[in-house]
């Protein structure tokens, strides 16, 4: 089963997201280009092209900073989740803004050279061995290439075609791009005449990105430790690890063998988990291979049905099967191997965020 690809998926929320983003970017550029010069040192006026170059460059840097903050913020506080919702459009727009910045650099500094301007850009400074006067342009080019690759592979097709592990690894290179950009700014713009506002904004951005990632890392490590403790205490009380949530497909079951005669089918359905014995009360048919419909499982052998929450056949039928208690710790499913008496209601486990 598949859905055909379309060029860009837009809906009301995404249009709103993109509109807010566009307005914010336009406002930033307008203020930087129109209002900024009013505060500049009149003895050192800045050319219009350089001002626009800085406006787009700083805008791309701040956008990249915000993009990198969205992930940890959404993990720290769910209220930031809407920002995560359309982050890929944010990323594509950032690559576009960075490209405009690069184009201003090329057309301002290298346009009237007899040498090809790309060659001139790469060959005008080759002092890679020194820190001061380092050819910071190369760092900007590296960042721009990464941003282009990420923007160009942001369509759903790429996730499916490359597979999640490769796609994710590729898109983790956003951190390399950020490092390149920070060095590009630190060894480039920050080496010019001291500008306390600009220096503080760059430093604050780097501290913010690093700080948020550190805080999220600590929170997740703490949560993981808590989960390990909870898992260990449940296992001590006799519960068994039934597997990981991702091993169970929607409306399907994972069958866990407790003893030779005792198998338990753990079903994932409607965002919940329930466990029942794998043996149908009629002729021991494999319930774990049955189909879930309206919270009921249908035995694949003779069509007997049972509610997954209480193991009872829908009225007027009277068959009952054993149910089992489950717990979800993080994404690990734990099972109490002691069966509940046939027909006992067991509250299904809500999957929630872990799904």
């Amino acid at each position: 089963m598949s859905v055909q690809y379309t060029p860009v998926i837009w809906n009301r929320n995404k249009i709103f997201y993109d509109a807010v983003l566009l307005i914010a970017v336009a406002l930033y550029l307008y203020i930087f280009i129109r209002v900024g010069p009013m505060f500049e040192d009149v003895t050192k006026p800045i050319d219009g092209a350089i001002l626009r170059m800085r406006a787009f460059g700083s805008c791309a840097f701040l956008m990249l900073t915000v993009i990198l903050c969205i992930g940890p913020l959404a993990r720290l506080d769910r209220r930031f989740l809407p920002l995560l919702y359309n982050r890929r459009h944010f990323g594509v727009m950032t690559a576009g803004i960075a490209a405009v910045h690069a184009n201003y650099v090329l057309t301002w500094y290298f346009n009237f050279s007899p040498t090809d301007r790309y060659v001139a850009l790469l060959s005008s400074n080759t002092n890679y061995g020194q820190l001061l006067g380092f050819p910071f342009e190369a760092l900007g080019i590296a960042a721009l290439i990464v941003l282009f690759v990420l923007a160009a592979t942001s369509h759903d097709f790429w996730l499916s075609f490359l597979g999640a592990p490769i796609w994710k690894a590729l898109h983790m290179s956003i951190y390399a791009a950020y490092a390149f950009v920070v060095l590009h700014v630190a060894l480039g713009a920050l080496q010019g005449p001291a500008d306390p506002i600009f220096t503080s904004v760059v430093a604050a951005s780097v501290v913010l990105v690093c700080g948020l990632h550190f805080a999220t890392g600590r929170m997740e490590a703490r949560r993981e430790r808590g989960e390990q403790t909870a898992k260990a205490s449940l296992q001590e009380a006799g519960w068994v690890v039934a597997g990981e949530l991702e091993e169970i497909d929607d409306d399907c079951a994972k069958v866990v063998t407790l003893t030779e005669d005792e198998r338990v089918a753990i079903f994932k359905y409607d965002g919940k988990l329930s466990a029942i014995t794998n043996a149908c009360a009629h002729q021991n048919g494999p319930l774990g291979e049955g189909k879930v419909l309206w919270g009921c499982i249908t035995c694949p052998w003779h069509g007997y049905q049972y509610n997954l929450a209480d193991g009872r056949a829908p009225e007027p039928f009277t068959e009952k099967i054993s149910t089992y208690r489950l717990k979800l710790i993080g994404s690990t499913v734990l099972l109490d191997p002691n069966p509940q008496p046939p027909g006992t209601y067991v509250e299904p486990v809500e999957i929630g965020e872990a799904a």
Partner: protein, 73 residues
Amino acid sequence: MQTAEFLIEIGQYYLMAGGVVAALFLVIGIDRIEPSSRGSYAFRPLLIPGICLIWPLVIYRWVVLEKHGEARR
């Protein structure tokens, strides 16, 4: 200067090779290995820049998916 020219030239050849891979992949390959793209053409031009940039990876995935199909997705 020479190194810069050499790098630019390599970049140009790399992107040209990517263009050839993009043409072959979008005309022949994509329908064979990606069921969701069958009958869907408007989104394909959007893939050209990506294929030009990471065409060695595209060829690798194309070969893997041709050999092993959905199992390696």
